[in-house]
């Protein structure tokens, strides 16, 4: 299950999946018959990382309120800053000969800080900040989209030959023309 939401007010195109996610639409990509696996989509990764799209099933796990009840507000951002400092200092201490040992220290430091945070990774304040980023304008103008497709067709259809015939039938055009006249008057 890979549930993706477009919380913005614009349609978002995932080019390499050839998929358009409409504004405010939620889709389970694993249920769609896509021509490549969504997990191998580079464009999807970019859109998820810049916050244009949200992965719903993962965020639900991350924001489990019971597990984060004892964590003070804003502790996460403080700890994350601290974590960055420690990692930087551990990496700067590294010498080529004892990289493995030094990495172990970095990992231990990260584990220690992770335990402090519990399993929550985003505080409520940060979550709001992140959601602001979801309204990024990534919609493509419809005319532009049509132009892109027209160019693609030009490449595909350049060197073809064909022999095609159709079953043809003719009927009186009175009913169609009568309908046109009526509709024109109404509209």
């Amino acid at each position: 299950m890979l549930i993706i939401a477009n919380k913005s007010n614009k349609n978002i195109v995932i080019s390499d999946l050839k998929l358009v996610i409409k504004k405010k639409q939620v889709l389970d990509l694993d249920k769609l018959n896509l021509h490549i696996s969504p997990k191998s989509s580079k464009d999807l990764r970019i859109l998820l990382s810049n916050g244009s799209l949200i992965q719903m099933n993962r965020s639900k796990i991350d924001t489990d309120s019971n597990k984060t009840a004892d964590v003070p507000k804003n502790v996460n951002s403080d700890i994350l800053v601290e974590m960055k400092k420690i990692i930087r200092s551990e990496i700067s201490k590294q010498k080529p000969k004892n990289i493995v040992a030094d990495n172990t220290n970095v990992i231990k430091a990260i584990q220690h800080l992770t335990n402090l945070v519990g399993k929550s990774s985003v505080s409520s304040g940060e979550k709001e900040k992140t959601e602001e980023n979801y309204n990024i304008d990534v919609d493509i103008d419809e005319d532009k989209l049509v132009e892109i497709h027209a160019k693609k067709i030009e490449r595909i259809a350049g060197l073809t030959e064909r022999y095609v015939e159709y079953v043809e039938e003719e009927s009186d055009n009175a009913s169609v023309i009568d309908n046109v006249e009526e509709l024109e008057n109404m509209l």
Partner: protein
């Protein structure tokens, strides 16, 4: 008058159709929207020409298209696979040659636009209510094909094309008639499209994937009968006014048709609830499409919905006199209106200049 051409194009899951108004007549071209790929060999072009098969050649690859693709698929069962550019009413995501074939069908049937004011109207499915497809990509791709050939495009939803072709009438409380008002349903092989219209304007639209292909597959599964036989019985023997209950396939088709009608109307009823207050008089229901062709289908719908608690009253369930061509005729109707509107606007602009 100008040499502008005005055409309606219905790119259905099963059939590809073009309608054009020519010298006082409506000319309709039809072919099956399917193809098979043949292995390349030295004499393949001779084989194709000797048999008179329709084909597309792309580099060294050969594709037999239209009705001939079915013939070839039957001649070489298991060796060649019948492929379709569309699935469930939209471009078939699993088919990498869909654009090649569709472009060839479009280019061979309508060609390049003779001028800047020639118009094509085609249709897309209404919003899918069962999460089965998204038509934004489908619509843009088709517009790209027509644009490349120089056509102006107008796009409407398939159910509205039925309304424009079949002209349902609603009698208002004061006795006046509201033309092109009612429910238009197109039952194809890929999707079922429903639109509620008032005076030719679409009020609501929806589509579901439980259409002809779905029915065929279900009946085939339940009766252990090859799909080709199910389709053959559906097209030649199914008569809702005289069901042969001893025939397992016919019996299953009858049951699945009932289930499909219930499914479609139960979902449409929920959509309708939002605009219920505006439609408190009985409505015409007009039905078209290949899946609606068995005799007595309108009576079948009437019987099934009579048992349902719908939020609207039904005046009449009417089957199109020309169910296979109804959508493409509606598209031609819309194309002519769009063309006239554009021409009138151009005249106005010139006068203002």
């Amino acid at each position: 008058m100008s040499a502008n051409r005005i055409v309606g194009v219905d790119l259905g899951t099963m059939f590809f159709q073009v309608a054009e108004n020519k010298e006082g007549k409506i000319n309709i071209k039809t072919t099956r929207n399917a193809f098979v790929e043949l292995e390349s060999s030295d004499d393949i072009e001779d084989v194709l020409k000797q048999n008179g098969w329709q084909y597309v050649k792309d580099g060294k690859r050969y594709y037999v298209i239209g009705e001939d693709s079915l013939r070839v698929a039957k001649m070489f069962p298991g060796k060649v696979e019948l492929r379709r550019p569309l699935k469930d009413g939209v471009l078939n995501k699993g088919e990498d040659k869909k654009l090649l074939i569709l472009n060839e069908l479009i280019e061979s049937s309508i060609g390049k636009a003779p001028d800047n004011n020639s118009v094509v109207c085609f249709c897309v499915s209404s919003e899918s209510v069962d999460g089965s497809s998204d038509n934004t990509y489908h619509k843009a791709r088709l517009q790209g094909i027509f644009k490349r050939l120089g056509w102006k495009t107008k796009v409407i939803e398939e159910g509205l094309a039925v309304i424009l072709s079949e002209r349902p009438v609603m009698v208002e409380r004061d006795g006046s008639e509201a033309l092109y008002s009612g429910i238009g349903i197109s039952m194809g092989s890929g999707r079922i499209n429903c639109v509620l219209s008032y005076k030719g304007l679409q009020i609501i639209g929806m589509s579901v994937a439980r259409a002809g292909d779905y029915l065929d597959q279900k009946v085939s599964d339940q009766t252990d009968t090859p799909i080709s036989q199910v389709i053959s019985k559906k097209e030649n023997l199914l008569d809702f006014e005289s069901i042969d209950y001893n025939d397992d396939v016919i019996f299953a088709l009858d049951a699945y048709y009932s289930s499909m009608i219930q499914y479609v109307f139960s979902i449409f009823a929920k959509k309708f609830a939002a605009v219920k207050s505006q439609f408190d008089v009985p409505l015409d229901i007009v039905v078209a499409g290949g899946t609606a062709m068995p005799n007595g289908f309108n009576k079948k719908i009437s019987e099934v919905i009579a048992e349902m608690d719908l939020p609207f009253k039904v005046k009449e369930v009417r089957l199109s006199k020309d169910p296979r061509n109804s959508v493409v005729k509606g598209l031609l109707t819309q194309a002519i209106i769009y063309h006239r509107k554009n021409s009138n606007e151009e005249v106005k602009e010139k006068k203002q200049e």
